[in-house]
């Protein structure tokens, strides 16, 4: 376990020293700018729009970090050949993969935490109420980022950085359209298309389950049961992807 945490801490430090937290400045400018610009609107609309913009910005930043830092987690170690000296140490390949994942998960957690704190401060300073639904939305965003990052890590264990990024982005887009796939499966007459779309619906992650931004921005909370099921679904899917990444990495030659 000491090895796993050593890799995680090193990944955390590496990512922070890559100046990843600079995105927070951009985020702050966006938040403050939007709340000033929306100042002319009526009170109800203004609160909803500030919430909408803030949550969307947190979501986009978290997913971008998950994808673009996630794909480099393993592939950068291979390209720079730092992997040789690491794996020559008493560390299993699975510990290495999980350590890398844990390190970036920590970065995303810190990043989302800071962004959310800035967002709440903006909401409060704008004189709007802070709804519990905002916390629910951010929790599911974190789960989504962890899931997307697991995809990025899985792809990077066997493909190049560009291919990994493309595949992960593809999964992210399709993941938000799976309900459309289900609709096609239900409405289409052709048996082949019906079964194909149904298969895709069940194989791809349903990322819309983790997206409650719309109603949260309006101050409407979701049922806690749903929240727990969605979180468990996201984390289980992430766990499966990590097992897959470890298995693939186990078989690799360097």
């Amino acid at each position: 376990m000491q090895c796993l945490f050593a890799v995680a801490v090193n990944t955390f430090r590496e990512t922070l020293r890559d100046k990843i937290l600079y995105n927070l400045v951009l985020f702050a400018v966006l938040l403050i700018g939007s709340s000033v610009l929306l100042g002319t609107l009526t009170i109800g609309e203004q609160a909803r729009l500030v919430n909408d913009l803030g949550l969307a910005a947190i979501n986009v930043v978290a997913v971008i970090i998950a994808i673009f830092v996630g794909i480099g987690l393993v592939s950068k170690e291979i390209e720079r050949r730092t992997i040789y000296t690491l794996l020559a140490r008493p560390i299993t390949r699975a510990q290495f993969v999980l350590g890398k994942y844990l390190g970036l998960a920590l970065v995303i957690l810190v990043n989302i935490g800071i962004m959310f704190a800035m967002f709440l401060a903006t909401v409060r300073l704008s004189g709007h109420p802070i709804h519990a639904s905002l916390f629910q939305a951010v929790e599911l965003m974190l789960v989504e980022a962890l899931l997307v990052m697991a995809f990025a890590l899985l792809f990077s264990t066997f493909s190049s950085s560009i291919l990994s990024a493309t595949l992960t982005l593809g999964i992210y887009v399709v993941g938000h359209l799976t309900s459309d796939l289900k609709m096609i499966a239900e409405k289409h007459a052709s048996g082949v298309i019906k079964s194909l779309t149904a298969t895709l619906y069940y194989v791809f992650p349903n990322l819309e389950t983790l997206n409650i931004k719309g109603q949260s921005a309006a101050g409407i909370s979701v049922d806690l049961g749903f929240q727990m099921i969605a979180t468990t679904y996201g984390l289980l899917y992430t766990g499966l992807l990590l097992v897959g990444a470890c298995l693939i990495f186990q078989r690799r030659d360097f």
Binding site: C3, A6, V7, N10, R13, T82, T85, L87, A88, P90
Partner: protein, 310 residues
């Protein structure tokens, strides 16, 4: 007991596409390294040295054959706590300082915080980097990276040290320091397995060598034994007052004759014909200047073996 046993190891890279050819990087390679020995692994670029080392560390799996490291099959993670590795032209995390870097590798080796803290200054002094303790690796020169790489390989005081081209990128002073460091490791009873192109280093520090070419093991043994067995000895005779080519035994037996005025240099194939030549020179009135036995070198052996003449 052997620290490393490699038996009939072959590594073939399967083609990525059906129209590509498979490539054999190692072919039936066998060698052993006993504990406490310094073993030099010689070969041109692409001979298969790095591949062999990667197999030892479990970074690559052999297509066939058996590899044991410190009594366990290669790739057994538990034995990695007893070995250190420096790859060729190492590249490390450039945002870490030398101290943080060694701390990270110490933790990976399973060392306690206190053990790491007491080991770091010793290692930095050993590789001559005390001044750079708090400097980020991105500001290190190639030679300094090589030194810090050596330090990480030795962080947990390992039993076996595997070094891939440890002298590359170092100036003559740095090379001497690495050589001394390897000799110190031997004094401490460590086993060192290292590859190099620099033959003089091998002759100076190695107990035994292995010569690899195109994935095949061409020679294995003590440097002197290999030279004696494979390289012909010769004798260089220099004398004054004669024209070498005009003396019949010289013309018949010498491998080479160089004449400069009345001074003649001749290279004889061995000491068997020396008496006959000296007798003939004396009769011709020559004045003997020197007789130098010419011992074969590792370089000759390496060139001969790697060109497939052996």
């Amino acid at each position: 007991m052997d620290a490393i046993t490699i038996e009939h190891v072959t590594k073939v890279y399967a083609p990525l596409w059906p129209w590509h050819r498979s490539s054999t990087v190692l072919s039936d390679v066998s060698l052993f390294v006993t504990k406490g020995e310094i073993f030099g692994f010689l070969g041109h670029n692409g001979a298969g040295k790095t591949t062999t080392m990667k197999i030892l560390l479990g970074l690559l799996r052999p297509t066939s054959g058996r590899v044991d490291v410190l009594g366990a099959p290669a790739g057994d993670v538990a034995t990695h706590s007893k070995l250190g590795y420096l790859p060729e032209a190492p590249y490390f995390y450039d945002y870490l300082t030398a101290e943080e870097f060694l701390e990270f590798y110490g933790k990976l080796a399973g060392m306690s915080h206190d053990a790491i803290q007491s080991r770091i200054p010793i290692l930095l002094e050993q590789v001559g980097l005390q001044e750079a303790q708090h400097r980020q690796l991105r500001k290190f020169s190639k030679g300094m990276l090589q030194r810090i790489g050596l330090a990480q390989a030795l962080i947990q005081d390992p039993e076996l040290v595997v070094l891939d081209e440890p002298m590359s990128g170092l100036d003559p002073m740095g090379r001497k320091e690495v050589r001394d460091l390897i000799l110190t490791l031997r004094e401490q009873g460590k086993t060192v397995f290292f590859s190099t192109h620099i033959l003089s280093d091998v002759e100076m520090v190695c107990d035994r060598v292995g010569i690899l070419a195109k994935g095949k093991m061409l020679a294995l043994g003590k440097v002197e034994d290999l030279i004696d067995a494979h390289i012909a000895q010769s004798i260089e005779v220099v004398c004054d007052g004669v024209i070498g080519k005009q003396i019949e035994p010289v013309q018949r037996l010498a491998l080479r004759i160089l004449q400069s005025g009345t001074r003649c240099l001749m290279v004889l194939p061995g000491h068997e014909c020396l008496d006959e030549i000296l007798e003939a020179l004396r009769r011709a009135g020559a004045k003997l200047v020197s007789i130098i036995p010419h011992k074969g070198s590792l370089e000759e052996l390496f060139v001969q073996k790697s060109h497939g003449e052996g």
